[in-house]
């Protein structure tokens, strides 16, 4: 293969995305990093110059006041903790709901499977914002659910379902479920059904077979799905803004308020950097799982596949 692609060619192909990533991700990130160390100014842009000339040499001015501020004001810590909690519980809920879904899809006949997968992905064809809005219509005091419950006499006063923790979880789990189902399905679909037959032959009952054969082999799928839900859910903005509590904010909303309402770019940047640091570990984990999947040796395959079937 090396002879077919010249070294210059390889550098060019790998180089273009690298240039893109450097110019549009790395450099902006470094700018944000520097802004987080700057002082706020009533100016445009609303922060002190990034570099100050000291005897002709541009030197970055570093103030730790923004980070100190984050530590002193309880709003930020509580928002971060709340975000992590919501993301973690939403991930768990997605796992408990999504695993049986993925399992059922993986075990269906091929035609059924395509239909089911399409149903899982269909929501992506519509606007995310609209779908979250739809939940308002369902959950509000004179919304569909409450009207049905009142009409049936199950309740006599409308249930308060909006702007609660409950509605945030509903919104996030509903929106992120496909991100759990699809990686899980991709993993479960590759499982060798003969292994379950062998386990049964060796004396394992159905639940034991699931616990000792299926579940251990699906760990990579569970990890991938969980991280794909957890990482973006931490910074989720739209769902808590539309459906969530007004007395407890998630960190994405805090960052946006800091940026747009307070026009305090340095503090907003500091919040962004702290969020990133918190998510570095999960992001690296996800990358390791994806790398393992890509490099994984083919499963211990049927050695007689090439021979005539009996």
């Amino acid at each position: 293969m090396a002879q077919l692609v010249s070294p210059a060619g390889r550098k060019l192909v790998a180089g273009i995305p690298m240039v893109w990533l450097t110019a549009l991700f790395l450099i902006p990130f470094l700018i944000v990093l520097k802004i987080s160390f700057s002082e706020v100014r009533l100016a445009l842009p609303p922060y002190a110059p990034l570099f100050v000339a000291h005897h002709g040499v541009p030197v970055p001015e570093l103030h730790l006041s923004n980070y100190a501020f984050l530590l002193t004001d309880p709003l930020y810590a509580s928002a971060l903790v709340y975000s992590l909690k919501v993301a973690a519980l939403s991930t768990l809920a997605c796992l408990l709901i999504g695993y049986p879904m993925a399992y059922a899809i993986a075990r269906s006949s091929p035609t059924r499977r395509s239909v089911l997968l399409m149903l899982v992905m269909l929501p992506f064809w519509t606007s995310f914002l609209l779908r979250v809005y739809a939940w308002i219509g369902l959950l509000q005091s004179n919304g569909v659910i409450n009207n049905v419950l009142l009409a049936l006499g199950i309740v006599h006063q409308p249930l308060v379902m909006l702007q609660t923790d409950f509605s945030v979880y509903i919104g996030i789990v509903y929106s992120y479920l496909p991100f759990m189902v699809l990686p899980l399905y991709a993993n479960l679909e590759k499982h060798d059904p003969t292994l379950l037959e062998a386990a049964a032959d060796l004396g394992a009952r159905p639940f034991t077979r699931f616990l000792r054969i299926t579940l251990p082999q699906s760990v990579a799928g569970i990890a991938a799905g969980s991280l794909l839900v957890f990482i973006p859910a931490v910074g989720e903005y739209i769902v808590p803004s539309l459906l969530g509590r007004t007395d407890q904010l998630m960190i994405g909303r805090v960052l946006s308020d800091e940026f747009f309402e307070n026009r305090d770019w340095p503090v907003a940047s500091a919040v962004a950097i702290v969020m990133l640091i918190l998510l570095v570990a999960p992001i690296l984990l996800l990358q390791r799982f994806e790398k393992d999947e890509l490099e994984a040796a083919p499963q211990v395959a049927a050695p007689a596949e090439a021979k005539a079937p009996s």
Partner: protein, 369 residues
């Protein structure tokens, strides 16, 4: 090997998959301690029958008895039966030791006993020391031995093997055939083996059943099946065979005589009388035919009746023996195998030679279907 009760009794078992009949009213007895082979081509139903014995398929009708008990609808995890799968089906996320121990754990055997028995069985299959390895770190032959150990460690009454040697190369296959037989004798387990390889079936089985399109066509020892096939299908399926078609022209105390339609010659064979004029076939195995450059007079000592003259079309030298394709007129080509008994003895028979073919009176097999 004769018993009052067969160890495994398959009684008129039928399995159809929505219209396709995989196993059609099969009845079969298997005796304790024997190695029974189910031999057949693709789609013959042999694997389905094996899976029915394992409990992985439930028959549409009929019964299966194992050691006297009705096991027809018993779940696989409740049967004293274990299977070695064609793909070995080793659990990839467990080590060799955990794989082999799995079945014992399901029986709630104590940890110390598990360790002992796993160690013993690994030694029997010559895989001691491979305990901590994972399946993907093993070669094909090694995986096979682990699969065998995993099934045998539970001391099943019946071990089912699905194409056990299919994935192995020739040399390893022969070696493993004998190893399997040794282990079987040593442990006394009853084996039921499914294979499409008739050489393998002949080598390892004490008895075999030939299957075709869901039915058992003939059951017998390898010698019985080879030397006395009951139908043209069986004669052709096992080994090579020369088939002659003709009408019965005469019968007597010794057998019958047929006029062969293809060669025009008369052929005799031992057998029960058949009505004159009936179309029958005679099967002649390639190794039963002798070749000579010139006809040997019948009066000469040790001579066989000269039956046919022919022209050698092809010679295949295979080391131990040579295969000759000989045209005997009207386009009919016979296959003859002769051992290469001497090194450069007399000049070898070569392509283009005219030869005489002869065989014992008792060699041809009469087939009525």
């Amino acid at each position: 090997m004769t018993q009052l009760e067969p160890y495994v009794r398959i009684e008129r078992v039928r399995k159809d998959f929505g219209g396709f009949i995989a196993v059609n009213e099969v009845s079969l007895d298997i005796h304790r301690g024997e190695v029974f082979c189910l031999l057949g081509g693709s789609g013959s139903g042999k694997t389905t029958l094996l899976r029915i014995l394992a409990g992985l398929e439930i028959p549409s009708s009929g019964k299966v008895y194992i050691d006297g008990q009705d096991m027809t609808a018993v779940a696989p995890y409740r049967r004293p039966v274990n299977m070695m799968f064609q793909s070995y089906a080793l659990f990839p996320h467990m080590s060799v030791e955990r794989n082999v121990a799995f079945g014992l754990e399901q029986e709630h055997v104590g940890r110390r006993e598990i360790r002992e028995r796993v160690g013993q069985i690994l030694e029997i299959v010559k895989m001691s020391g491979f305990g901590p390895r994972k399946p993907h770190q093993l070669s094909g032959g090694q995986r096979q031995r682990v699969a065998l150990a995993r099934a045998l460690v539970k001391r099943p009454k019946l071990l089912l093997l699905d194409e056990p040697l299919a994935a192995l190369d020739r040399k390893l296959r022969e070696h493993t055939q004998f190893e399997l037989l040794n282990i079987q004798k040593h442990l006394g387990v009853t084996f039921v083996v499914v294979t499409h390889d008739q050489q393998e079936a002949m080598t390892i089985s004490s008895r075999m059943g030939v299957m075709d399109r869901g039915e058992i066509v003939q059951v017998g020892t390898p010698a019985e099946i080879y030397e006395s096939p009951g139908t043209r299908f069986v004669a052709d399926f096992i080994g090579s065979v020369n088939l002659f078609q003709g009408e019965v022209t005469a019968t007597d105390a010794e057998g019958l005589c047929m006029r062969c339609a293809e060669t025009g010659a008369d052929m005799r064979a031992p057998g029960a009388p058949v009505a004159l004029g009936t179309t029958i076939w005679m099967a002649l195995r390639p190794e039963k035919i002798e070749l000579a450059r010139s006809p040997v007079p019948e009066s000469a000592p040790g001579a066989l009746p000269n039956q046919l003259r022919g022209l050698v079309k092809e010679v295949g030298y295979m080391g131990e023996a040579s295969v000759y394709l000989i045209e005997v007129g009207a386009g009919k080509v016979l296959r003859v195998t002769r051992p290469n008994a001497g090194r450069d003895a007399e000049p070898r028979i070569a392509r283009g030679d005219a030869v005489s073919l002869s065989w014992h009176r008792s060699s041809p097999i009469v087939l009525t279907r």
